[in-house]
C-alpha cells in the first residue's frame, strides 16, 4: 500500500488481479520471502546438496509444525495479544495423542486429529477467557498458564515417554509419505495457511480481528464484539496448536514431559519476523508462515554450512531486531509526515 503517497491521485484505478495480488502480499511479506530466497541460494552455492530431494523434504518437515503454530499465534498477535502457553499446549496434546494410541490401539486417525484439536481448543479457551474477563495483559496470563499447563503435563507424564514405534504405522507414515514431492503433514500445513489466510482476508469476523488490534477503543465505539472475538482468536490458536501437537507425535520419535517446551518463543519470533506487528492490527498469516519457513531454514542452512550453533541463535535474534527496527522506523516516519501534512495553512 502507498505509505509514501500522502494524497494519492483521485480515483486511481487499479487493475483487478494485480491489485488483488498486491493486497495479498503487502510490503511486509516481500522482504521476508526475499531473504528466504537469498538464504537458499547462498547455502546451495556453498553446499550443493542443500537442494537435494531428501534435504528439501527435511526442510519442509522441519518447518511444518512451526508454520501451523505461527498461523495460530498470528491470529492472536493481530488482536494485540500474545499466547505464550502454546509450547505447553502442544506438549499436552502430543502426550495425550501417545496416551490415546497406547490405550486404544485401533483408534481411527481422524478421531485422533479431532480429539487433539478439541483438547487444544479447550486449553485455548481457558487463556481467552482469562484474558477477556480479567482484563490483564495476555502476556502475563499466558505466562501463567504456560507454567500451569506444563506442570499438569509433568505430573501426568512423569518420566514416561511414548515412542513413534508404539503408534500405528499409518499415523507415522503421514510424516514419511509424499504427494507430488510434498510430505502429507506439510500439505496439511499449507491447507491451514490458505484457509486461515482467506478467513483473515475476506471474512468479516477476520477483519474484525484486525480492527481490534488496530485500535481497541475505536472497535468498541464501532460496536464490534471485542471480547467474543478475542476469545475466538485464542480458541482458534489453541485448536491449531492441538493440530500441531498431533502432527508432532507423528513426526518425532518420542513425546514426554518436556515436549514443546521453549517452542513458544520460536513461534513468536517467526510471526514477528514474518511482518505481523507485535502491536497488532497489521501483518498476514502468509507472512507468519513465511517467517516460520525462514527461521527453520536458517537453522538447517547454518548446519549445512557448518556454522557454530551459537551463531544460529544470534542470527535469529538479529532478524527479530531488524524486523522490529524496520517497523518502528516506518511508524516514526509516518508520524512525522502526518504532523507536517496537517499543517495546511498554519
Amino acid at each position: 500500500m502507498s505509505i509514501d503517497t500522502l494524497r494519492p491521485p483521485a480515483h486511481a484505478e487499479h487493475s483487478g488481479p494485480l491489485h488483488a495480488v498486491r493486497g495479498f502480499f503487502r510490503a511486509r511479506e516481500i522482504p521476508v520471502a526475499g531473504a528466504l530466497v537469498v538464504l537458499v541460494i547462498i547455502t546451495t552455492l556453498i553446499n550443493p546438496r542443500f537442494l537435494s530431494p531428501q534435504s528439501m523434504k527435511d526442510l519442509m518437515l522441519n518447518a511444518t509444525i512451526v508454520i501451523i503454530l505461527a498461523v495460530g499465534q498470528a491470529l492472536v498477535i493481530i488482536t494485540e495479544n500474545v499466547d505464550l502457553s502454546i509450547g505447553s499446549i502442544l506438549g499436552l496434546v502430543a502426550f495425550g495423542t501417545g496416551t490415546l494410541f497406547n490405550a486404544w490401539p485401533g483408534v481411527p486417525i481422524p478421531v485422533v486429529f479431532l480429539g487433539g484439536m478439541l483438547f487444544g481448543a479447550v486449553l485455548g479457551a481457558i487463556n481467552g477467557f482469562l484474558v477477556t474477563a480479567a482484563k490483564v495483559p495476555a502476556l502475563v496470563i499466558t505466562l501463567g498458564t504456560m507454567y500451569i499447563f506444563r506442570g499438569i503435563l509433568t505430573s501426568w507424564a512423569g518420566s514416561k515417554q511414548y515412542f513413534s514405534g508404539d503408534n500405528p504405522k499409518a499415523f507415522g507414515n503421514l510424516s514419511v509419505d509424499v504427494f507430488l514431492g510434498i510430505p502429507i503433514i506439510t500439505i496439511v500445513a499449507i491447507v491451514v495457511v490458505i484457509a486461515v489466510g482467506i478467513f483473515m482476508h475476506s471474512v468479516r469476523a477476520g477483519r474484525d480481528l484486525y480492527a481490534i488490534g488496530s485500535d481497541r477503543d475505536a472497535a468498541r465505539l464501532f460496536g464490534i464484539a471485542v471480547g467474543p472475538r478475542v476469545l475466538a482468536a485464542f480458541i482458534a490458536s489453541g485448536a491449531l496448536t492441538g493440530l500441531a501437537g498431533v502432527l508432532y507425535t507423528s513426526r518425532y520419535n518420542s513425546v514426554g514431559a518436556l515436549t514443546g517446551s521453549g517452542l513458544e518463543l520460536d513461534v513468536v519470533a517467526a510471526v514477528v519476523v514474518g511482518g505481523v506487528a507485535i502491536s497488532g492490527g497489521t501483518g498476514t498469516v502468509f507472512g507468519a508462515a513465511i517467517g516460520a519457513v525462514l527461521l527453520s531454514t536458517i537453522t538447517s542452512s547454518l548446519t549445512a554450512t557448518r556454522v557454530d550453533k551459537f551463531w544460529q541463535q544470534a542470527f535469529v535474534g538479529m532478524l527479530i531486531l531488524a524486523a522490529i527496527i524496520v517497523d518502528r522506523a516506518v511508524s516514526v516516519r509516518n508520524a512525522r509526515k502526518l504532523r507536517v501534512s496537517e499543517s495546511r495553512d498554519v
Binding site: A12, R207, F222, N334, E342
Partner: protein, 505 residues
C-alpha cells in the same frame, strides 16, 4: 419540553444526568430532536455537550432521565445498541483504524459480500468511491487510514455516517478541521439528509455555521439545559449571553497585583505543523491567558516554552537570559513551574502519598548524601499543604484518594515548593467542581500578588475573562488577538478563536 403538536420526534432526552466519581459531568441533559431538522447544540467547553453525545452514542449510560428514540423508550448499554436504533455519531476526534484501508474503515462489520459469503472488495471500493463522489473529495479508498490528515479522517467519518443511512446523525464539531469548500459540501450533504427525514444534531463553536445551517438551537451551560430557540428568533449576542450566563467578576476574582518587569519573552516561536510565529511577554504579577478552541495549539506552545517539546525556530528568554530549547530540567532550574493539562497522567504519581507527590520536584534539595530524609520530606509537604489548604486525612494517603480540586492543589504545591518565578498552568480547573474551582482561582490570584508571572491556558471563557490581565487568543496555531482585561468580552474572544482576525495585533 412538551411538543405534542410537533410532528415525529426523532430522539429526545429529558433530564439526563451523569456523574464520574465526585465530578458532575451532566446535571440536566435535555434535547428534543425532530425528524427532518438540523438542531444545533451550543455551550462552552465543559458545558456537558460531549457527555450528552456519549449518552446518545451508547458509550455512557445515564444515571437518570428519560431517553426516547422514535417515540420509544430506550436504554443503550453499548455503542452497538445505539447503532442498531439508527443513531450514528461523528465524534470530535475521528475514531478510525489506522492499519485498515479507507474503504474498510467505512464498511467494517458490514462489508458487501459475494455469493460465497466472502468480502467483495471490488464492490466495497466502488461503494466507497461513490460516497466520496457525493462528498466531492478525492480520497483513494485503497490507502490505509494511517497518515491521513485530520480533515480527511473527518470526511471518512462523515462518509461512514452517511452510508449507514441513519435516522439520527450526531455531529460533534465536524467542521473543526475542514476547509471552507469541504464545509460547504458537508452542509449540502446534511441538508440532503434532513430533507430525506433524518434528524441531525450539530455541535459547533462557529456561530456563522450554526446560524447558516440549523433550524433550532439548544443552549447548555455547566452541565445543564438552558433553553431552546428557533434560529430565526435569536441573535448571536443572545446565545453567547446564555452560554456564558453568570456574572463573571464575582465568581473569578483576580485581585489587582503590581505588574512589574518582564519575566518571559517569547519571540517568533514556530513548530512545523503545530504553531507559527508566536510572540508574547509575561511580566511579574501578571496572569496571561492563552485562550482558544481545543486543538488551537495552546498546549503545544507552553510545552515548547517549558522544553518538553522541540520547536523549529524562535527564542525563549527568561529574565534576560536565553533558555535552552528542549530541556525541561534547565527550565525548572531557571524558575519555571509547569502544571500540565492531564494531572492524572502527567502531574501526579497517583499511587504515591500526598507528601511524596508534593516533594517530587525537591528530591535534590531534600536529599543528604543521595538519600531522601523522610522527616524533612514530611515537614516540607505539610508546610505547603497547609498553605494551599489541601484537604486530606493524612499526608500518607495516596493522591488518588483525593478529589480533583485537591489533587490540583497538590500539583500546585509540588511546583510552588521549587519557588518558581514563572508558573505555567494548563487548564487548571478542568474536571474540578465549581466550589473548588474558585479556590484554585483564589490561589492563582494570590500567587500573582506575590509577584509570580503566570501563563494560564484555558478553554473556559469565564475563567479567562475573570482571571487574566491579558488574553492571547489562538486559532489554528497562530495568535489571532491580544486583548487587555478592559478590552476583553466573550464575543471578542469567541470571534478571535473562530478565525476572524482582531485588530489588536
Amino acid at each position: 419540553m412538551a411538543n405534542q403538536e410537533q410532528p415525529s420526534p426523532a430522539l429526545s432526552l429529558t433530564g439526563a444526568s451523569k456523574t464520574f466519581g465526585p465530578v458532575v459531568a451532566l446535571a440536566d441533559g435535555t434535547i428534543d430532536l425532530r425528524a427532518g431538522e438540523i438542531h444545533a447544540l451550543v455551550g462552552e467547553n465543559g458545558a456537558g455537550k460531549s457527555t450528552l453525545v456519549k449518552i446518545l452514542a451508547g458509550v455512557h449510560a445515564p444515571d437518570g432521565g428519560v431517553f426516547e428514540v422514535g417515540g420509544k423508550a430506550v436504554s443503550f448499554r453499548t455503542p452497538a445498541d445505539s447503532k442498531a436504533a439508527g443513531v450514528s455519531v461523528i465524534y470530535q476526534e475521528p475514531t478510525l483504524f489506522p492499519d485498515l484501508t479507507v474503504a474498510e474503515n467505512i464498511f467494517i462489520g458490514r462489508q458487501p459480500r459475494n455469493r460465497a459469503g466472502l468480502i467483495n472488495r471490488g464492490e466495497m471500493r466502488r461503494m466507497a468511491r461513490e460516497l466520496f463522489t457525493t462528498l466531492g473529495v478525492p480520497i483513494d479508498p485503497d490507502r490505509i487510514a494511517e497518515g491521513l490528515s485530520i480533515a480527511d479522517q473527518q470526511i471518512i467519518e462523515i462518509a461512514k455516517a452517511i452510508s449507514l443511512d441513519a435516522k439520527v446523525l450526531v455531529m460533534d464539531e465536524p467542521t473543526a478541521a475542514l476547509s471552507g469548500v469541504e464545509v460547504d459540501r458537508l452542509f449540502g450533504v446534511a441538508r440532503g439528509l434532513r430533507d430525506k427525514g433524518a434528524g441531525i444534531l450539530f455541535i459547533s463553536h462557529r456561530f456563522e455555521e450554526v446560524f447558516a445551517l440549523c433550524d433550532r438551537i439548544t443552549v447548555m451551560r455547566d452541565g445543564r439545559y438552558i433553553s431552546v430557540h428557533n434560529t430565526n428568533d435569536v441573535t448571536v449576542p443572545q446565545i453567547v449571553k446564555e452560554m456564558v450566563g453568570r456574572e463573571l467578576g464575582a465568581l473569578f476574582p483576580k485581585a489587582d497585583a503590581a505588574i512589574g518587569e518582564t519575566v518571559l519573552t517569547v519571540e517568533g516561536l514556530s513548530r512545523l505543523g503545530t504553531f507559527r510565529d508566536i510572540s508574547f511577554e509575561v511580566k511579574t504579577g501578571e496572569i496571561v491567558a492563552l485562550a482558544g478552541l481545543v486543538g488551537a495549539g495552546r498546549t503545544e506552545v507552553v510545552r515548547a516554552v517549558f522544553g518538553v517539546d522541540r520547536y523549529d525556530s524562535g527564542s525563549v528568554v527568561l529574565h534576560g537570559k536565553p533558555l535552552a530549547p528542549h530541556n525541561p530540567q534547565a527550565a525548572i532550574t531557571a524558575g519555571i513551574g509547569f502544571v500540565p493539562e492531564d494531572r492524572r497522567k502527567q502531574g501526579l504519581v497517583m499511587d504515591l502519598s500526598v507528601a511524596k507527590n508534593a516533594t517530587l520536584t525537591l528530591r535534590r534539595s531534600l536529599a543528604r548524601f543521595g538519600l531522601i530524609s523522610g522527616s524533612r520530606e514530611r515537614r516540607t509537604a505539610e508546610d505547603w499543604s497547609s498553605r494551599l489548604q489541601v484537604k486530606t486525612g493524612s499526608q500518607d494517603y495516596a493522591v488518588s484518594t483525593l478529589s480533583g480540586g485537591n489533587q490540583q492543589k497538590v500539583v500546585l504545591a509540588k511546583w510552588l515548593a521549587t519557588e518558581p518565578t514563572l508558573l505555567i498552568v494548563d487548564e487548571p480547573t478542568r474536571g474540578i467542581d465549581v466550589g473548588t474551582k474558585s479556590e484554585v482561582h483564589r490561589l492563582l490570584s494570590d500567587l500573582a500578588g506575590r509577584g509570580i508571572a503566570i501563563i494560564m491556558v484555558s478553554s473556559e471563557l469565564p475563567e479567562v475573562l475573570g482571571m487574566a490581565d491579558r488574553i492571547l487568543v489562538m486559532h489554528e496555531g497562530r495568535i489571532t488577538a491580544e486583548l487587555s482585561r478592559a478590552e476583553a468580552t466573550a464575543e471578542r474572544v469567541m470571534n478571535a478563536a473562530t478565525s476572524t482576525l482582531e485588530g489588536a495585533l
